[in-house]
Symmetry: C2
Subunit: 314 residues, 2 copies
Protein backbone atom coordinates (compact mmCIF):
# COMPACT_ATOMS: atom_id res chain seq x y z
CA UNK A 1 0.00 0.00 0.00
CA UNK A 2 1.80 3.15 -1.16
CA UNK A 3 0.08 6.30 0.00
CA UNK A 4 2.24 9.34 0.79
CA UNK A 5 -0.25 10.65 3.40
CA UNK A 6 0.40 7.69 5.68
CA UNK A 7 2.15 8.50 8.97
CA UNK A 8 3.50 5.77 11.23
CA UNK A 9 3.69 6.32 14.98
CA UNK A 10 5.91 4.06 17.07
CA UNK A 11 4.34 3.65 20.53
CA UNK A 12 6.88 1.22 21.99
CA UNK A 13 7.96 3.29 24.98
CA UNK A 14 4.48 4.57 25.78
CA UNK A 15 2.43 1.36 25.34
CA UNK A 16 5.25 -1.03 26.30
CA UNK A 17 5.76 1.04 29.43
CA UNK A 18 2.31 -0.02 30.60
CA UNK A 19 3.97 -3.41 31.21
CA UNK A 20 6.86 -2.13 33.38
CA UNK A 21 5.74 1.29 34.68
CA UNK A 22 8.08 2.95 32.17
CA UNK A 23 11.18 1.62 33.94
CA UNK A 24 13.26 1.77 30.76
CA UNK A 25 16.89 2.84 31.00
CA UNK A 26 18.15 5.56 28.68
CA UNK A 27 19.93 3.02 26.47
CA UNK A 28 16.56 1.45 25.63
CA UNK A 29 14.85 4.73 24.85
CA UNK A 30 17.83 6.02 22.85
CA UNK A 31 17.91 2.84 20.75
CA UNK A 32 14.19 3.15 19.97
CA UNK A 33 14.75 6.81 19.10
CA UNK A 34 17.70 6.13 16.79
CA UNK A 35 16.14 3.10 15.13
CA UNK A 36 12.67 4.48 14.50
CA UNK A 37 14.27 7.61 13.05
CA UNK A 38 16.51 5.50 10.80
CA UNK A 39 13.51 3.39 9.75
CA UNK A 40 11.67 6.47 8.49
CA UNK A 41 8.96 6.29 11.14
CA UNK A 42 7.15 9.63 11.39
CA UNK A 43 6.63 9.94 15.17
CA UNK A 44 8.00 8.27 18.24
CA UNK A 45 5.57 8.32 21.14
CA UNK A 46 7.98 8.49 24.02
CA UNK A 47 5.60 8.24 26.95
CA UNK A 48 2.76 9.80 28.85
CA UNK A 49 2.55 13.49 29.52
CA UNK A 50 1.52 13.54 33.21
CA UNK A 51 1.86 15.95 36.06
CA UNK A 52 4.38 15.01 38.72
CA UNK A 53 1.70 15.79 41.29
CA UNK A 54 -0.42 12.91 39.88
CA UNK A 55 2.18 10.12 40.07
CA UNK A 56 5.32 9.42 42.05
CA UNK A 57 8.74 9.22 40.41
CA UNK A 58 9.70 6.59 42.95
CA UNK A 59 7.09 4.26 41.46
CA UNK A 60 7.12 5.33 37.79
CA UNK A 61 9.99 5.78 35.37
CA UNK A 62 10.62 9.10 33.55
CA UNK A 63 8.42 8.22 30.55
CA UNK A 64 5.31 8.47 32.64
CA UNK A 65 6.01 12.24 32.71
CA UNK A 66 8.04 13.22 29.62
CA UNK A 67 9.76 16.09 31.41
CA UNK A 68 11.83 18.26 29.12
CA UNK A 69 15.12 17.41 30.89
CA UNK A 70 14.51 13.69 30.26
CA UNK A 71 13.64 14.28 26.60
CA UNK A 72 16.79 16.35 26.15
CA UNK A 73 18.94 13.54 27.52
CA UNK A 74 17.65 11.20 24.80
CA UNK A 75 17.97 13.71 21.98
CA UNK A 76 21.45 14.79 23.03
CA UNK A 77 23.23 17.70 21.37
CA UNK A 78 22.37 16.91 17.76
CA UNK A 79 19.23 18.14 16.01
CA UNK A 80 16.16 16.03 16.77
CA UNK A 81 15.92 13.06 14.38
CA UNK A 82 12.24 12.18 14.60
CA UNK A 83 9.12 13.97 15.78
CA UNK A 84 8.23 13.12 19.37
CA UNK A 85 4.78 12.47 20.73
CA UNK A 86 3.35 11.98 24.20
CA UNK A 87 -0.02 10.74 25.32
CA UNK A 88 -2.10 12.72 27.78
CA UNK A 89 -4.87 11.15 29.84
CA UNK A 90 -7.77 13.33 30.91
CA UNK A 91 -7.34 14.47 34.51
CA UNK A 92 -3.71 13.42 34.82
CA UNK A 93 -2.08 16.55 33.43
CA UNK A 94 -2.53 20.12 34.70
CA UNK A 95 -2.74 22.70 31.94
CA UNK A 96 -0.18 24.78 33.87
CA UNK A 97 2.32 21.91 33.62
CA UNK A 98 2.27 21.95 29.81
CA UNK A 99 5.04 24.18 28.42
CA UNK A 100 4.66 26.10 25.20
CA UNK A 101 5.55 23.92 22.22
CA UNK A 102 8.52 26.10 21.33
CA UNK A 103 9.95 25.38 24.79
CA UNK A 104 9.37 21.62 24.48
CA UNK A 105 10.94 18.79 22.49
CA UNK A 106 7.50 17.29 21.97
CA UNK A 107 5.72 17.87 18.67
CA UNK A 108 2.49 15.99 19.13
CA UNK A 109 0.17 15.47 22.09
CA UNK A 110 -2.27 12.60 21.78
CA UNK A 111 -5.25 12.95 24.08
CA UNK A 112 -6.72 9.61 25.15
CA UNK A 113 -10.29 9.57 26.35
CA UNK A 114 -13.42 7.51 26.80
CA UNK A 115 -16.60 8.59 25.04
CA UNK A 116 -18.00 10.30 28.14
CA UNK A 117 -14.82 12.42 28.34
CA UNK A 118 -14.95 13.75 24.79
CA UNK A 119 -15.70 17.34 25.82
CA UNK A 120 -12.77 17.37 28.25
CA UNK A 121 -10.56 15.79 25.59
CA UNK A 122 -11.46 18.43 23.00
CA UNK A 123 -10.75 21.17 25.53
CA UNK A 124 -7.34 19.69 26.36
CA UNK A 125 -6.51 19.10 22.68
CA UNK A 126 -7.46 22.69 21.80
CA UNK A 127 -5.34 23.88 24.72
CA UNK A 128 -2.23 22.06 23.49
CA UNK A 129 -2.92 23.18 19.90
CA UNK A 130 -3.09 26.77 21.15
CA UNK A 131 0.28 26.21 22.80
CA UNK A 132 1.69 25.20 19.42
CA UNK A 133 1.54 21.39 19.44
CA UNK A 134 -0.01 19.04 16.92
CA UNK A 135 -2.86 17.07 18.52
CA UNK A 136 -4.90 13.92 18.07
CA UNK A 137 -7.74 12.45 20.08
CA UNK A 138 -7.68 8.72 20.69
CA UNK A 139 -11.19 7.60 21.55
CA UNK A 140 -10.77 4.43 23.58
CA UNK A 141 -12.90 1.35 24.20
CA UNK A 142 -15.55 2.13 21.60
CA UNK A 143 -16.38 -1.59 21.48
CA UNK A 144 -18.13 -1.13 24.84
CA UNK A 145 -20.44 1.78 24.04
CA UNK A 146 -23.70 1.91 22.11
CA UNK A 147 -23.98 3.06 18.52
CA UNK A 148 -25.80 6.19 19.67
CA UNK A 149 -23.09 7.09 22.17
CA UNK A 150 -20.44 6.65 19.50
CA UNK A 151 -22.29 8.85 17.00
CA UNK A 152 -22.73 11.57 19.60
CA UNK A 153 -19.02 11.47 20.47
CA UNK A 154 -18.06 11.57 16.80
CA UNK A 155 -20.37 14.50 16.12
CA UNK A 156 -18.76 16.42 18.98
CA UNK A 157 -15.31 15.58 17.64
CA UNK A 158 -16.43 16.67 14.19
CA UNK A 159 -17.10 20.16 15.52
CA UNK A 160 -13.65 20.42 17.09
CA UNK A 161 -10.45 21.79 15.56
CA UNK A 162 -8.60 18.53 16.28
CA UNK A 163 -7.36 17.23 12.92
CA UNK A 164 -6.75 13.53 13.70
CA UNK A 165 -9.16 11.16 15.44
CA UNK A 166 -8.22 7.57 16.27
CA UNK A 167 -10.14 4.32 16.03
CA UNK A 168 -8.86 2.47 19.11
CA UNK A 169 -9.51 -1.23 19.67
CA UNK A 170 -8.65 -1.11 23.37
CA UNK A 171 -9.79 -4.64 24.14
CA UNK A 172 -8.66 -6.37 20.93
CA UNK A 173 -12.25 -7.26 20.21
CA UNK A 174 -12.70 -6.25 16.57
CA UNK A 175 -12.50 -8.17 13.30
CA UNK A 176 -11.40 -6.67 10.00
CA UNK A 177 -15.02 -5.98 8.97
CA UNK A 178 -15.56 -4.00 12.16
CA UNK A 179 -12.52 -1.82 11.53
CA UNK A 180 -13.55 -1.19 7.95
CA UNK A 181 -17.01 -0.21 9.16
CA UNK A 182 -15.65 2.05 11.93
CA UNK A 183 -13.22 3.87 9.65
CA UNK A 184 -16.02 4.59 7.22
CA UNK A 185 -18.30 5.69 10.05
CA UNK A 186 -15.61 8.01 11.46
CA UNK A 187 -14.99 9.46 8.00
CA UNK A 188 -18.69 10.20 7.55
CA UNK A 189 -18.98 11.98 10.89
CA UNK A 190 -15.58 13.68 10.69
CA UNK A 191 -15.38 15.27 7.24
CA UNK A 192 -11.95 16.67 6.47
CA UNK A 193 -10.26 14.93 9.37
CA UNK A 194 -7.62 12.22 9.30
CA UNK A 195 -8.42 8.84 10.85
CA UNK A 196 -5.87 6.97 12.96
CA UNK A 197 -5.65 3.33 14.03
CA UNK A 198 -4.48 1.86 17.33
CA UNK A 199 -5.06 -1.88 17.54
CA UNK A 200 -4.46 -4.58 20.14
CA UNK A 201 -3.49 -8.14 19.40
CA UNK A 202 -5.75 -10.23 21.63
CA UNK A 203 -7.06 -12.13 18.61
CA UNK A 204 -3.85 -11.92 16.55
CA UNK A 205 -5.59 -9.27 14.46
CA UNK A 206 -3.69 -6.07 15.32
CA UNK A 207 -1.74 -6.11 12.06
CA UNK A 208 -4.62 -7.47 9.97
CA UNK A 209 -6.98 -4.84 11.36
CA UNK A 210 -4.43 -2.14 10.65
CA UNK A 211 -4.28 -3.33 7.03
CA UNK A 212 -8.09 -3.32 6.86
CA UNK A 213 -8.13 0.22 8.27
CA UNK A 214 -5.50 1.44 5.80
CA UNK A 215 -7.52 0.08 2.90
CA UNK A 216 -10.59 1.83 4.31
CA UNK A 217 -8.64 5.11 4.33
CA UNK A 218 -6.97 5.57 7.72
CA UNK A 219 -3.63 7.37 7.54
CA UNK A 220 -2.19 7.56 11.09
CA UNK A 221 -0.94 4.12 12.03
CA UNK A 222 0.24 3.05 15.48
CA UNK A 223 2.67 0.18 15.90
CA UNK A 224 5.31 -1.00 18.35
CA UNK A 225 8.57 -2.90 18.07
CA UNK A 226 7.76 -6.62 18.13
CA UNK A 227 4.26 -5.61 19.25
CA UNK A 228 5.57 -4.47 22.69
CA UNK A 229 2.51 -3.17 24.49
CA UNK A 230 -0.03 -3.85 27.15
CA UNK A 231 -1.28 -7.40 27.42
CA UNK A 232 -1.50 -8.96 23.98
CA UNK A 233 0.44 -6.03 22.58
CA UNK A 234 0.02 -3.98 19.43
CA UNK A 235 0.50 -4.05 15.69
CA UNK A 236 4.18 -5.03 15.20
CA UNK A 237 6.13 -2.23 13.54
CA UNK A 238 8.32 -4.69 11.62
CA UNK A 239 5.24 -6.18 9.94
CA UNK A 240 3.65 -2.82 9.22
CA UNK A 241 6.74 -1.31 7.59
CA UNK A 242 7.29 -4.40 5.50
CA UNK A 243 3.68 -4.13 4.27
CA UNK A 244 3.89 -0.42 3.43
CA UNK A 245 5.53 0.13 0.09
CA UNK A 246 6.63 3.73 0.65
CA UNK A 247 10.40 3.71 0.03
CA UNK A 248 10.95 6.13 2.93
CA UNK A 249 10.48 3.22 5.34
CA UNK A 250 13.10 0.62 6.02
CA UNK A 251 12.79 -2.53 8.11
CA UNK A 252 16.42 -3.20 9.03
CA UNK A 253 16.72 -0.55 11.80
CA UNK A 254 13.56 -1.99 13.35
CA UNK A 255 15.06 -5.48 13.38
CA UNK A 256 18.20 -3.98 14.92
CA UNK A 257 16.26 -2.35 17.78
CA UNK A 258 14.35 -5.57 18.43
CA UNK A 259 17.64 -7.48 18.52
CA UNK A 260 19.44 -5.04 20.79
CA UNK A 261 16.87 -3.90 23.33
CA UNK A 262 13.39 -5.39 22.79
CA UNK A 263 13.99 -9.15 22.94
CA UNK A 264 15.83 -8.83 26.27
CA UNK A 265 12.64 -7.28 27.70
CA UNK A 266 10.50 -9.92 25.98
CA UNK A 267 12.46 -12.65 27.75
CA UNK A 268 11.62 -10.93 31.05
CA UNK A 269 7.99 -9.87 30.77
CA UNK A 270 6.41 -11.59 27.74
CA UNK A 271 3.62 -9.63 26.12
CA UNK A 272 1.73 -10.92 23.11
CA UNK A 273 -0.95 -13.44 22.22
CA UNK A 274 -2.00 -15.88 24.92
CA UNK A 275 -5.20 -17.67 25.82
CA UNK A 276 -6.24 -15.29 28.64
CA UNK A 277 -5.88 -12.27 26.32
CA UNK A 278 -7.73 -14.13 23.57
CA UNK A 279 -10.56 -14.77 26.00
CA UNK A 280 -10.78 -11.16 27.22
CA UNK A 281 -10.67 -9.98 23.60
CA UNK A 282 -13.44 -12.26 22.37
CA UNK A 283 -15.53 -11.40 25.44
CA UNK A 284 -14.89 -7.66 24.93
CA UNK A 285 -13.47 -7.25 28.41
CA UNK A 286 -10.74 -5.01 29.78
CA UNK A 287 -7.46 -6.97 29.84
CA UNK A 288 -6.79 -6.35 33.52
CA UNK A 289 -7.97 -9.77 34.71
CA UNK A 290 -6.05 -11.49 31.92
CA UNK A 291 -2.94 -9.49 32.86
CA UNK A 292 -3.29 -10.60 36.48
CA UNK A 293 -3.67 -14.19 35.28
CA UNK A 294 -0.56 -13.91 33.09
CA UNK A 295 1.38 -12.46 36.03
CA UNK A 296 0.39 -15.33 38.30
CA UNK A 297 2.19 -18.61 38.87
CA UNK A 298 -0.61 -20.55 37.22
CA UNK A 299 -0.80 -18.59 33.98
CA UNK A 300 -1.10 -21.82 31.98
CA UNK A 301 -4.21 -22.94 33.86
CA UNK A 302 -6.35 -21.27 31.23
CA UNK A 303 -9.50 -23.38 31.63
CA UNK A 304 -9.99 -22.06 35.15
CA UNK A 305 -9.70 -18.52 33.74
CA UNK A 306 -12.16 -19.24 30.93
CA UNK A 307 -14.74 -20.65 33.32
CA UNK A 308 -14.33 -17.74 35.70
CA UNK A 309 -14.63 -14.85 33.23
CA UNK A 310 -17.04 -16.32 30.67
CA UNK A 311 -19.83 -17.01 33.14
CA UNK A 312 -22.57 -14.43 32.93
CA UNK A 313 -23.89 -13.45 36.36
CA UNK A 314 -27.52 -14.39 36.95
CA UNK B 1 -19.96 -15.94 10.02
CA UNK B 2 -22.74 -18.55 10.10
CA UNK B 3 -22.65 -20.84 7.09
CA UNK B 4 -23.70 -24.45 7.56
CA UNK B 5 -21.39 -25.69 4.77
CA UNK B 6 -18.29 -24.74 6.75
CA UNK B 7 -16.14 -27.66 7.93
CA UNK B 8 -13.32 -27.18 10.42
CA UNK B 9 -10.30 -29.47 10.34
CA UNK B 10 -8.03 -29.62 13.36
CA UNK B 11 -4.44 -30.30 12.20
CA UNK B 12 -2.71 -30.15 15.59
CA UNK B 13 -1.19 -33.62 15.58
CA UNK B 14 -0.21 -33.54 11.92
CA UNK B 15 1.19 -30.01 11.63
CA UNK B 16 2.39 -29.77 15.23
CA UNK B 17 4.17 -33.09 14.72
CA UNK B 18 6.43 -31.37 12.20
CA UNK B 19 7.99 -29.72 15.26
CA UNK B 20 8.72 -32.94 17.21
CA UNK B 21 8.68 -35.75 14.61
CA UNK B 22 5.25 -36.80 15.90
CA UNK B 23 6.65 -37.90 19.25
CA UNK B 24 3.32 -37.38 21.01
CA UNK B 25 2.25 -39.83 23.68
CA UNK B 26 -1.21 -41.37 23.49
CA UNK B 27 -2.51 -39.08 26.25
CA UNK B 28 -1.82 -36.07 24.03
CA UNK B 29 -3.50 -37.54 20.97
CA UNK B 30 -6.47 -38.82 22.98
CA UNK B 31 -7.00 -35.39 24.54
CA UNK B 32 -6.96 -33.71 21.12
CA UNK B 33 -9.39 -36.38 19.88
CA UNK B 34 -11.81 -35.97 22.78
CA UNK B 35 -11.64 -32.19 22.83
CA UNK B 36 -11.98 -31.52 19.12
CA UNK B 37 -14.93 -33.94 19.04
CA UNK B 38 -16.55 -32.16 21.99
CA UNK B 39 -15.91 -28.78 20.35
CA UNK B 40 -17.90 -29.82 17.27
CA UNK B 41 -14.86 -29.80 14.98
CA UNK B 42 -15.61 -31.78 11.80
CA UNK B 43 -12.30 -33.58 11.21
CA UNK B 44 -9.20 -34.31 13.24
CA UNK B 45 -6.12 -34.71 11.08
CA UNK B 46 -4.21 -37.22 13.13
CA UNK B 47 -0.97 -37.41 11.17
CA UNK B 48 0.69 -38.36 7.93
CA UNK B 49 -0.21 -41.46 6.00
CA UNK B 50 3.26 -42.80 5.08
CA UNK B 51 4.69 -46.19 4.23
CA UNK B 52 6.85 -47.75 6.93
CA UNK B 53 9.39 -48.47 4.19
CA UNK B 54 9.83 -44.69 3.69
CA UNK B 55 10.56 -43.69 7.31
CA UNK B 56 11.89 -45.38 10.44
CA UNK B 57 9.75 -45.86 13.54
CA UNK B 58 12.85 -45.44 15.65
CA UNK B 59 13.09 -41.84 14.43
CA UNK B 60 9.43 -40.93 13.93
CA UNK B 61 6.46 -41.33 16.22
CA UNK B 62 3.34 -43.30 15.21
CA UNK B 63 1.56 -40.29 13.69
CA UNK B 64 4.02 -40.19 10.83
CA UNK B 65 2.33 -43.42 9.66
CA UNK B 66 -1.25 -43.57 10.97
CA UNK B 67 -1.26 -47.35 11.13
CA UNK B 68 -4.68 -48.82 11.93
CA UNK B 69 -3.50 -50.34 15.23
CA UNK B 70 -2.38 -46.91 16.45
CA UNK B 71 -5.63 -45.27 15.39
CA UNK B 72 -7.64 -47.96 17.19
CA UNK B 73 -5.73 -47.33 20.41
CA UNK B 74 -6.86 -43.69 20.37
CA UNK B 75 -10.47 -44.42 19.45
CA UNK B 76 -10.79 -47.22 22.02
CA UNK B 77 -13.87 -49.42 22.17
CA UNK B 78 -16.52 -46.75 21.78
CA UNK B 79 -17.86 -45.56 18.43
CA UNK B 80 -15.59 -43.03 16.73
CA UNK B 81 -16.41 -39.49 17.93
CA UNK B 82 -15.01 -37.37 15.10
CA UNK B 83 -14.01 -38.03 11.50
CA UNK B 84 -10.29 -38.71 11.15
CA UNK B 85 -8.04 -37.41 8.40
CA UNK B 86 -4.44 -38.11 7.40
CA UNK B 87 -2.18 -36.24 5.03
CA UNK B 88 -0.36 -38.10 2.25
CA UNK B 89 2.74 -36.69 0.56
CA UNK B 90 3.43 -37.68 -3.02
CA UNK B 91 6.00 -40.48 -3.16
CA UNK B 92 5.91 -41.31 0.55
CA UNK B 93 3.02 -43.74 0.49
CA UNK B 94 2.75 -46.93 -1.59
CA UNK B 95 -0.72 -47.54 -2.99
CA UNK B 96 -0.46 -51.12 -1.73
CA UNK B 97 -0.05 -49.83 1.83
CA UNK B 98 -3.41 -48.03 1.74
CA UNK B 99 -6.19 -50.25 3.12
CA UNK B 100 -9.75 -50.05 1.88
CA UNK B 101 -11.67 -47.31 3.67
CA UNK B 102 -14.02 -49.81 5.27
CA UNK B 103 -11.02 -51.51 6.88
CA UNK B 104 -9.60 -48.19 8.15
CA UNK B 105 -10.52 -45.72 10.86
CA UNK B 106 -9.57 -42.87 8.54
CA UNK B 107 -12.31 -41.03 6.69
CA UNK B 108 -10.40 -38.43 4.72
CA UNK B 109 -7.05 -38.48 2.94
CA UNK B 110 -5.55 -35.07 2.16
CA UNK B 111 -3.00 -35.20 -0.63
CA UNK B 112 -0.33 -32.52 -0.33
CA UNK B 113 1.57 -31.58 -3.48
CA UNK B 114 3.53 -28.88 -5.25
CA UNK B 115 2.25 -27.56 -8.57
CA UNK B 116 4.58 -29.78 -10.60
CA UNK B 117 3.14 -32.83 -8.80
CA UNK B 118 -0.50 -32.14 -9.56
CA UNK B 119 -0.94 -35.11 -11.92
CA UNK B 120 0.53 -37.51 -9.34
CA UNK B 121 -1.64 -35.92 -6.68
CA UNK B 122 -4.81 -36.37 -8.70
CA UNK B 123 -3.91 -40.01 -9.37
CA UNK B 124 -3.33 -40.65 -5.66
CA UNK B 125 -6.51 -38.80 -4.68
CA UNK B 126 -8.56 -40.76 -7.21
CA UNK B 127 -6.97 -43.96 -5.89
CA UNK B 128 -8.01 -43.25 -2.30
CA UNK B 129 -11.47 -42.14 -3.42
CA UNK B 130 -11.83 -45.44 -5.28
CA UNK B 131 -10.91 -47.19 -2.05
CA UNK B 132 -13.80 -45.38 -0.35
CA UNK B 133 -12.15 -42.36 1.34
CA UNK B 134 -13.02 -38.73 1.06
CA UNK B 135 -10.16 -36.76 -0.50
CA UNK B 136 -8.78 -33.25 -0.80
CA UNK B 137 -5.75 -31.89 -2.62
CA UNK B 138 -3.67 -29.30 -0.78
CA UNK B 139 -1.66 -27.38 -3.36
CA UNK B 140 1.38 -26.07 -1.48
CA UNK B 141 3.68 -23.09 -1.88
CA UNK B 142 1.68 -21.35 -4.61
CA UNK B 143 3.31 -18.07 -3.57
CA UNK B 144 6.47 -19.29 -5.32
CA UNK B 145 5.08 -20.21 -8.76
CA UNK B 146 4.07 -18.05 -11.69
CA UNK B 147 0.50 -17.11 -12.50
CA UNK B 148 0.62 -19.33 -15.58
CA UNK B 149 1.81 -22.36 -13.60
CA UNK B 150 -0.96 -21.85 -11.06
CA UNK B 151 -3.65 -21.59 -13.75
CA UNK B 152 -2.39 -24.76 -15.42
CA UNK B 153 -2.42 -26.63 -12.09
CA UNK B 154 -5.92 -25.36 -11.30
CA UNK B 155 -7.22 -26.36 -14.73
CA UNK B 156 -5.86 -29.88 -14.20
CA UNK B 157 -7.47 -30.01 -10.77
CA UNK B 158 -10.71 -28.75 -12.30
CA UNK B 159 -10.86 -31.83 -14.54
CA UNK B 160 -10.36 -34.21 -11.60
CA UNK B 161 -13.01 -35.86 -9.44
CA UNK B 162 -11.43 -34.45 -6.28
CA UNK B 163 -14.12 -32.36 -4.56
CA UNK B 164 -12.04 -30.12 -2.28
CA UNK B 165 -8.97 -28.10 -3.28
CA UNK B 166 -6.96 -26.08 -0.74
CA UNK B 167 -5.38 -22.66 -0.90
CA UNK B 168 -2.19 -23.22 1.11
CA UNK B 169 0.01 -20.34 2.30
CA UNK B 170 3.02 -22.54 3.02
CA UNK B 171 5.42 -19.70 3.70
CA UNK B 172 3.06 -17.31 5.48
CA UNK B 173 3.60 -14.78 2.74
CA UNK B 174 0.09 -13.65 1.88
CA UNK B 175 -2.02 -10.67 2.94
CA UNK B 176 -5.81 -10.74 3.18
CA UNK B 177 -6.20 -9.27 -0.32
CA UNK B 178 -4.08 -12.11 -1.74
CA UNK B 179 -6.23 -14.77 -0.10
CA UNK B 180 -9.41 -13.12 -1.31
CA UNK B 181 -7.96 -13.02 -4.82
CA UNK B 182 -6.79 -16.65 -4.69
CA UNK B 183 -10.10 -18.00 -3.42
CA UNK B 184 -11.92 -16.25 -6.24
CA UNK B 185 -9.36 -17.49 -8.77
CA UNK B 186 -9.69 -21.06 -7.49
CA UNK B 187 -13.49 -20.81 -7.64
CA UNK B 188 -13.34 -19.65 -11.26
CA UNK B 189 -11.08 -22.50 -12.32
CA UNK B 190 -12.74 -25.14 -10.15
CA UNK B 191 -16.49 -24.81 -10.72
CA UNK B 192 -18.53 -26.95 -8.38
CA UNK B 193 -15.63 -27.68 -6.05
CA UNK B 194 -15.17 -26.65 -2.44
CA UNK B 195 -12.21 -24.41 -1.55
CA UNK B 196 -10.16 -25.03 1.60
CA UNK B 197 -7.75 -22.81 3.53
CA UNK B 198 -4.50 -23.70 5.27
CA UNK B 199 -2.62 -20.66 6.54
CA UNK B 200 0.67 -20.07 8.34
CA UNK B 201 1.27 -17.36 10.88
CA UNK B 202 4.62 -15.83 9.88
CA UNK B 203 3.03 -12.39 9.63
CA UNK B 204 0.40 -12.91 12.33
CA UNK B 205 -2.15 -13.26 9.55
CA UNK B 206 -3.14 -16.94 9.69
CA UNK B 207 -6.45 -16.18 11.43
CA UNK B 208 -7.06 -12.93 9.52
CA UNK B 209 -6.40 -14.65 6.20
CA UNK B 210 -8.74 -17.47 7.18
CA UNK B 211 -11.45 -14.89 7.85
CA UNK B 212 -10.74 -13.24 4.49
CA UNK B 213 -10.97 -16.64 2.78
CA UNK B 214 -14.25 -17.49 4.52
CA UNK B 215 -15.78 -14.21 3.38
CA UNK B 216 -14.57 -14.98 -0.16
CA UNK B 217 -16.36 -18.34 0.00
CA UNK B 218 -13.93 -20.99 1.27
CA UNK B 219 -15.60 -23.69 3.37
CA UNK B 220 -12.88 -26.13 4.56
CA UNK B 221 -10.90 -24.42 7.29
CA UNK B 222 -7.70 -25.73 8.84
CA UNK B 223 -6.69 -24.71 12.34
CA UNK B 224 -4.65 -26.06 15.25
CA UNK B 225 -4.83 -25.80 19.02
CA UNK B 226 -3.06 -22.58 20.06
CA UNK B 227 -1.69 -22.47 16.50
CA UNK B 228 0.55 -25.52 17.14
CA UNK B 229 2.32 -26.12 13.84
CA UNK B 230 5.52 -25.78 11.93
CA UNK B 231 7.51 -22.63 12.50
CA UNK B 232 5.19 -19.71 13.03
CA UNK B 233 2.29 -22.12 13.35
CA UNK B 234 -1.25 -22.05 12.01
CA UNK B 235 -4.62 -20.42 12.45
CA UNK B 236 -5.48 -20.95 16.13
CA UNK B 237 -8.55 -23.15 16.54
CA UNK B 238 -9.72 -21.24 19.62
CA UNK B 239 -9.88 -18.00 17.60
CA UNK B 240 -11.55 -19.61 14.60
CA UNK B 241 -14.32 -21.29 16.61
CA UNK B 242 -14.98 -18.14 18.54
CA UNK B 243 -15.35 -16.25 15.24
CA UNK B 244 -17.70 -18.82 13.66
CA UNK B 245 -21.23 -18.35 14.83
CA UNK B 246 -22.48 -21.86 14.09
CA UNK B 247 -23.87 -23.11 17.41
CA UNK B 248 -22.47 -26.59 16.75
CA UNK B 249 -19.03 -25.29 17.74
CA UNK B 250 -17.95 -24.69 21.29
CA UNK B 251 -14.72 -23.11 22.50
CA UNK B 252 -14.47 -24.53 26.02
CA UNK B 253 -13.20 -28.02 25.05
CA UNK B 254 -10.51 -26.34 22.95
CA UNK B 255 -9.36 -24.26 25.93
CA UNK B 256 -9.37 -27.45 27.99
CA UNK B 257 -7.08 -29.27 25.53
CA UNK B 258 -4.72 -26.29 25.38
CA UNK B 259 -4.60 -26.21 29.17
CA UNK B 260 -4.03 -29.93 29.62
CA UNK B 261 -1.69 -30.96 26.81
CA UNK B 262 -0.74 -28.11 24.45
CA UNK B 263 0.81 -25.50 26.78
CA UNK B 264 3.19 -28.09 28.27
CA UNK B 265 4.53 -28.65 24.72
CA UNK B 266 4.61 -24.90 24.08
CA UNK B 267 6.86 -24.42 27.10
CA UNK B 268 9.22 -26.99 25.57
CA UNK B 269 9.37 -26.14 21.87
CA UNK B 270 7.77 -22.71 21.30
CA UNK B 271 6.19 -22.34 17.89
CA UNK B 272 4.50 -19.11 16.82
CA UNK B 273 5.38 -15.62 15.64
CA UNK B 274 9.01 -14.59 15.89
CA UNK B 275 11.28 -12.28 13.94
CA UNK B 276 13.00 -15.03 11.90
CA UNK B 277 9.62 -16.43 10.77
CA UNK B 278 8.39 -12.91 10.02
CA UNK B 279 11.45 -12.39 7.83
CA UNK B 280 11.08 -15.67 5.93
CA UNK B 281 7.37 -14.93 5.45
CA UNK B 282 7.84 -11.43 4.09
CA UNK B 283 10.68 -12.68 1.84
CA UNK B 284 8.52 -15.59 0.62
CA UNK B 285 11.10 -18.17 1.70
CA UNK B 286 10.76 -21.70 3.05
CA UNK B 287 10.86 -21.56 6.88
CA UNK B 288 13.72 -24.07 7.18
CA UNK B 289 16.44 -21.48 7.78
CA UNK B 290 14.27 -19.62 10.26
CA UNK B 291 13.56 -22.91 12.06
CA UNK B 292 17.29 -23.62 12.30
CA UNK B 293 17.80 -20.11 13.68
CA UNK B 294 15.05 -20.58 16.25
CA UNK B 295 16.59 -23.91 17.30
CA UNK B 296 20.01 -22.32 17.79
CA UNK B 297 21.47 -20.81 20.94
CA UNK B 298 21.48 -17.34 19.38
CA UNK B 299 17.83 -17.25 18.29
CA UNK B 300 17.49 -13.68 19.56
CA UNK B 301 20.32 -12.39 17.36
CA UNK B 302 17.81 -11.56 14.66
CA UNK B 303 19.75 -8.80 12.90
CA UNK B 304 22.40 -11.31 11.83
CA UNK B 305 19.61 -13.49 10.42
CA UNK B 306 18.00 -10.58 8.58
CA UNK B 307 21.29 -9.55 6.98
CA UNK B 308 22.08 -13.11 5.96
CA UNK B 309 18.77 -14.06 4.32
CA UNK B 310 17.69 -10.70 2.90
CA UNK B 311 20.79 -10.17 0.77
CA UNK B 312 20.17 -10.96 -2.84
CA UNK B 313 23.07 -12.83 -4.45
CA UNK B 314 24.84 -10.90 -7.22
Amino acid sequence: MYRPEIKVIDCTVRDGGLMNKWQFDDAFVKQVYESTAAAGVDYMEIGYFSSESAFSRSEYGPWKFCAEADLKRIIGNEPKKIKLAAMADIGRIEYADIPLANESSLDLVRVACYAHQVDAAIELAHHVMDKGYEATINLMAVSTITGRELEEALDDLGKSRVPVIYVVDSFGNYYQEDIEHLVHQYQEHLPGKTIGLHMHNNQQLAFANTIAGIIAGANYLDATLYGFGRGAGNCPLELLLSFLKNPKFSVRPVIEAIDRVVLPWYRKIEWGYSVPYMISGTLNQHPREAMAKMDSDNCDRVLEFYDRVSTFPE
